[in-house]
């Protein structure tokens, strides 16, 4: 039905743009990772020094481990909040389902910065939370570990990503035909058994999609540590950011970025294959 000219006309512009503004920049980043900085200027000398530094210097590994831990915590907490919420909306909310769904979506549209800033004002030493606790005479002095700690980063990112995790899980749950739930009960499985044997397995693709999203984006986040994390919560992306800023070492920064990119892509591949295995069409 569509002529070759038509197909060429619609494919060419986006393809060209993608090549120019996505592929080429990635290639540049890749190239930079093999270069050097000496005496404050960039030298196009191909070498593996940056990667060697990454793998031998324990600092980078430590930061990366902390980043992975934070990302994993965020993912876990988001799932613990997002899944029950999606389950509640899908199976127990009845006619209010639509409205509640909109209520969950709204925060997604509110700026990341706004939400992060809100936590900053709540968790600080003279923030709202401390004020509240002192008002209730629960504490006499401000508690300092709320803010500027990995805890604060996890809290803020969980707040950001719970709606993101909710969305694909809710979609997957909605896709489960209700007769399957009835059939399970008809055959003798109570609510808990029905959930474990039917609902949960069929919701795994959505769960994986949401979890991957939360994990990958948390892994590469640099704003949350700057806002609420403080020095004890420096994440790998902060190091990259400073290497492109004050610490001026673009090649090293590029090398770390390439690593993050590769980790992300492999994770995506892995979950995609898992999702295929768990989707039954």
């Amino acid at each position: 039905m569509y002529s070759r000219a038509y197909k060429a006309a619609i494919s060419a512009p986006p393809l060209l743009w993608i090549c120019l503004f996505l592929l080429l920049p990635y290639a540049l980043m890749f190239a930079h990772s093999f270069w050097l900085v000496r005496d404050g200027s960039l030298i196009h000398h191909w070498n593996l020094q940056n990667y060697r530094a990454l793998f031998t210097n324990p600092l980078y590994f430590e930061v990366f481990l902390r980043t992975a831990r934070i990302a994993a915590s965020v993912t876990l907490c988001s799932l613990l909040l997002g899944y029950p919420l999606a389950y509640y909306l899908s199976f127990h909310a009845g006619p209010r389902k639509e409205l509640l769904y909109q209520l969950v979506i709204v925060p997604l549209w509110v700026s990341y910065l706004v939400r992060g800033y809100a936590w900053k004002t709540i968790l600080g030493s003279d923030g709202v939370l401390n004020g509240f606790l002192q008002y209730l005479h629960v504490t006499r002095e401000p508690v300092s570990f709320f803010l500027y700690s990995p805890f604060a980063v996890v809290l803020m990112l969980t707040h950001i990503y719970t709606p993101f995790v909710f969305l694909p899980i809710y979609a997957a749950l909605e896709h489960i035909p209700r007769p399957l739930v009835e059939a399970s009960q008809d055959l003798g499985a109570d609510r808990r058994a029905t959930f474990l044997r039917v609902i949960l397995p069929l919701s795994i693709p959505g769960l994986l999609a949401g979890a991957t999203f939360a994990f990958v984006l948390s892994l590469g986040d640099f704003l949350a540590p700057l806002l609420v994390g403080g020095p004890s919560a420096t994440m790998i992306a902060n190091i990259v950011q400073s290497l492109f800023g004050a610490a001026y070492d673009w090649p090293l920064g590029a090398a770390i970025s390439v690593c993050i990119l590769l980790i992300t892509v492999s994770l995506l591949f892995a979950t995609e294959r898992l999702e295929k295995r768990w989707s039954f069409k």
């Binding site: 494919s11 004002t121 950011q241």
Partner: protein
């Protein structure tokens, strides 16, 4: 007939769901409340109600300049992303060519990749191309990253399109080009508007990519970010509350549009024997 099981009692789950909703909304509520507090962003309880911070906000020229910058970038991003996104969606839906799978992944990659990667790679590109960092580079960043949003939304819209309509149009003598303008595009109208709203909002809020591509002119998020370094005042609460209100308004519009497309579909589903 729908199952009555959807209304089973589950008190613990309901309570938990309420708590989660509270967690999601509490910070925003606190933010808005304290934007009216005379004595700053901390402490409890807020004591003195005032509009002073909003007044200060309205007189703050730098903020409004950054708003205009953001609007410019957002508008341009919408135009670019929708155009390229529409073409990409059409290509994915109708054309087959070597490397199509790779193309699809590349287009969707910026959606899931942390913003820092997209931002830095484009920074290196800008330097390579000898470009000055400015709103133009910011626009390139937003536009490129948000093509993926447009593609996803428009592809979904294309899937719902009834192929028979286009075939009927060709059968009646219209050329493919005419068919595109008279049949395909009107059917995608709602998807286009919904995608446009989403891209607009995401562009207005964008920080991570913008962080590395910004020149002398600030966008709104970066203007706020800069202020955070200098110290926190409820004026920031005020602008944040306004951003929240605007976002809510936009999402209500977006949702109504979506519901209209889904609504007609649900109707058709119900009318099936």
């Amino acid at each position: 007939m729908t199952s009555a099981n959807s209304r089973q009692r589950a008190p613990l789950l309901t309570a938990y769901a309420v708590l989660i909703f509270g967690f999601i909304y509490l910070p925003i509520v606190v933010l808005i409340v304290y934007s009216f507090n005379r004595d700053g962003v901390g402490g409890f309880p807020p004591r003195h109600f005032t509009f002073a911070w909003y007044r200060q906000l309205f007189g703050d020229a730098a903020i409004w300049e950054s708003v205009i910058n953001s609007l410019l970038v957002a508008a341009a991003s919408v135009a670019l992303s929708l155009t390229l996104g529409l073409l990409a969606a059409l290509a994915l839906d109708r054309a087959s060519f070597p490397g199509k799978a790779l193309f699809r992944r590349l287009v969707l990659l910026p959606l899931i990749l942390p913003g820092i990667i997209t931002g830095l790679s484009l920074l290196m590109f800008a330097v390579f191309a000898g470009m000055q960092l400015s709103l133009l580079t910011v626009f390139l960043g937003h536009g490129t990253a948000l093509i993926s949003v447009a593609t996803t939304e428009l592809f979904a819209g294309l899937q719902k399109l009834d192929r028979a309509q286009e075939e009927a149009s060709l059968d009646l003598g219209a050329t493919p080009w005419q068919t595109f303008w008279r049949v395909t595009l009107p059917n995608l109208k709602l998807s286009l508007i919904a995608a446009g709203l989403l891209i607009f909002t995401l562009s207005m809020d964008e920080i991570a990519v913008t962080f590395f591509l910004i020149g002398r002119d600030n966008t709104l998020p970066l203007e706020i970010w800069g202020r955070l370094r200098r110290g926190i005042t409820p004026e920031i609460n005020a602008i944040s509350s306004l951003i929240f209100a605007a976002s809510v308004a936009l999402i209500i519009i977006w949702y109504r549009l979506r519901a209209r497309t889904i609504g007609t579909q649900a109707q058709e589903l119900l009318e099936r024997p």
